[in-house]
């Protein structure tokens, strides 16, 4: 392998890792607060791409207006999903909430299939993202450079929100102790709703980037990235934003390197994440950054 192809694999790995990180943050935030897997997160990510498709291809708006609107709208959409799927079950057994989440995920997938048909649609990629840069013998899409930058910008924004604002303080309080936070006068429902909104907005950012890179959208495309990003969040230590970013990069790089160095095993690419998950859970169940939690009776 020469330096050029190595460089190409590295940029691919970094941009895929950034995408996984963006989506994994949504999982980790929701898990941190509600202690449940938001099974619908991957499908919210999928819906964001269809929103962009609607805006550009159907309503004919320019992408620089559509993309910010999609991010806001997906955030509201995520809040709506939370209102319907999780809020009525706040005090129900965990198994019911999990089933409700799976139901929501299937519902979104199938509604998307009915509305947009199962056939792949072409994502409206902005022209400047699709350009290709040539460095020596290597040609790389501009989007591969934009993705990590966008990820870092939103990550800084998120860390500011969580650590420096009052809303962020409320989020941290609720994730530490739900009951006590309520006693302290924090509006728990509102905080959960905002968390879903922020997580969904990041999923939308990930979706727009994903669509620009891979250029095809189907109703079932959210399943695999969804599962993988949950795995990324678990690997990094669920409930921890930095851990999710770390897990996302480990998974993205690992996947690309597997394909690069062992092309014969390309078919097993999707299995890689699951094997990694099971290994991590057995060796360090709380993930790389997680602390051990004592079980309370």
């Amino acid at each position: 392998m020469n330096l050029g192809t190595f460089f190409q694999h590295m940029t691919n790995g970094i941009s895929l890792g950034s995408l996984y990180a963006l989506i994994a943050i949504g999982y980790t935030m929701v898990y941190g607060i509600l202690r449940l897997i938001n099974f619908a997160h991957g499908d919210i990510f999928m819906m964001s791409m269809y929103f962009a498709f609607l805006g550009v291809a159907v309503f004919g708006l320019p992408w620089y207006i559509v993309f910010p609107l999609v991010i806001v709208f997906t955030g509201l959409f995520g809040m709506g999903v939370e209102k319907i799927t999780y809020k009525p079950l706040r005090d129900a057994p965990k198994i019911s909430i999990l089933i409700s989440a799976i139901g929501a995920s299937f519902l979104l997938e199938n509604v998307a299939t009915v509305f947009f048909s199962g056939l792949p649609k072409v994502f409206p990629v902005p022209e400047i993202f699709a350009r290709v840069i040539k460095i020596g013998s290597v040609s790389i899409q501009v989007i591969s450079f934009i993705i990590p930058v966008v990820t870092i910008v939103f990550l800084i924004g998120l860390l500011y929100l969580i650590n420096k604002t009052k809303t962020g303080m409320a989020m941290r309080a609720v994730s530490k102790d739900y009951e006590t936070a309520r006693i302290m006068g924090i509006d728990v429902n509102r905080t959960i709703s905002i968390t879903f909104g922020v997580g969904s907005m990041l999923a939308a950012v990930g979706g727009l980037m994903w669509g620009s890179k891979f250029q095809q959208i189907t109703p079932l495309m959210g399943i695999m990235p969804g599962l993988k990003c949950f795995i990324a969040a678990v690997i990094g230590g669920i409930g921890n934003v930095k851990g999710a970013v770390m897990g996302g990069f480990i998974l993205g790089m690992g996947e690309i390197l597997l394909v690069a160095f062992f092309p014969a095993y390309t078919g097993y690419r999707d299995a890689f994440a699951f094997v990694l998950l099971i290994v991590i859970l057995l060796v360090k169940p709380t993930g790389l950054t997680g602390e051990k939690i004592a079980e309370k009776v």
């Binding site: 199938n110 678990v234 099971i278 859970l281």
Partner: protein
């Protein structure tokens, strides 16, 4: 008590007579649906043992079914047929001439699935709740990816075709009866009480001296066995299988049966399996165009699954206990139902 066993006997005879009649008189389509109902009852029961009675949220059923279905299929397809099916990559030598009669093949499939279930669950069962759910889901995805890639054993993505249609009502209903019998005796034994204790509170159960790991493994392995047998029956009913058939969707279908029937009720799972399978077949009509006289319904492809997933959500949101809750069928309860109905009818 004696009266009730007479009722049971009568009901059994009625079912046997029905199968005798159905097997020779009903058309293929109806037979297929009835078979599917029974197969999904077996699958629902086995998932209910793990999810409902033991409280371990497993989403790995599609993987277990795939192992069972492929094992039975490979054992029942004739060697000559195998050479025709494995076009791209020839089948490995040791499997080529391997053949077993259908019942033996089913048992082997069940045992193999149980063994794999054991080796999967031993490490995975240390996890709890969501982690267990995602790990078992991961396991079933790994199985699917392995089956897609191991062409010399599974014929890869093309799948297996021309599997002999050995499944009939005798097998499916017979195995539903066996499954029910095994599960009821398990659940009413000390093991069953231990499983329920684990479901209610793991820490309390452990401090009462219940070996958590051993009991969870028992539930998992028995569940895997019946899932394998159910998968085998399914493969030999639909006669062609491929790895994509065993996606998460089918686990979701079984989960819907368990939830609708009542998490932790054997009767519920069986009733729900029949309801879900029959309604599913009826909803196929929604995907097709039809003329209702007053409006022309254009037919929306995929609307069936929308109704299905909405149904699951509605059940969980508003009817969390399902049809039966954790109750079971009994003759006294059955007749009590009519009495109560009469009373309310009189009041009106």
């Amino acid at each position: 008590m004696k009266k009730n066993s007479i009722y049971t006997l009568v009901a059994l005879v009625a079912v046997v007579a029905f199968i005798f009649f159905a097997q020779s008189n009903l058309d293929n389509f109806t037979l297929r649906i009835l078979n599917l109902c029974a197969i999904f009852a077996i699958l629902g029961l086995s998932l209910n043992l793990i999810n409902g009675f033991t409280g371990q949220f497993s989403l790995g059923h599609a993987g277990f079914m795939a192992i069972g279905a492929y094992t039975t299929a490979i054992l029942t397809i004739s060697p000559a047929m195998k050479q025709m099916i494995y076009v791209n990559v020839p089948i490995v030598k040791c499997l080529e001439n391997l053949r077993a009669p259908f019942p033996i093949a089913l048992i082997i499939a069940g045992l193999l699935t149980a063994v794999i279930g054991f080796f999967v669950s031993a490490p995975v069962l240390k996890l709890k709740g969501d982690y267990l759910a995602i790990a078992t889901l991961g396991f079933s995805e790994i199985i699917r990816i392995l089956f897609t890639n191991m062409s010399s054993i599974t014929n890869g993505a093309a799948g297996l075709k021309a599997i002999p249609q050995a499944t009939n009502l005798w097998w499916t209903f017979g195995i539903v009866a066996v499954t029910t019998l095994v599960l009821t005796s398990l659940i009413n034994s000390s093991y069953g009480r231990a499983l329920k204790a684990i479901r209610e509170d793991e820490i309390a159960a452990e401090s009462m001296g219940i070996n958590l790991f051993k009991h969870k493994i028992i539930a998992f392995v028995i569940g895997a066995f019946f899932a394998g047998v159910g998968g085998g029956l399914l493969g030999n009913l639909i006669t062609s299988i491929d790895p994509n058939y065993f996606k998460f969707t089918i686990t979701f279908n079984i989960l819907l049966i368990v939830v609708l029937g009542g998490i932790g009720s054997i009767t519920g799972s069986i009733i729900a399996a029949f309801i879900v399978t029959i309604v599913d077949q009826m909803l196929v009509a929604l995907d097709m165009p039809m003329n209702l006289g007053f409006i022309n319904y254009p037919g929306i492809p995929g609307i069936r699954m929308v109704v299905f997933s909405a149904a699951l959500m509605l059940v969980v949101l508003f009817y969390r206990n399902g049809l039966m809750g954790t109750n079971e069928f009994s003759w006294d309860g059955f007749f009590g139902l009519f009495k109560r109905k009469k009373k309310t009818g009189g009041a009106k």
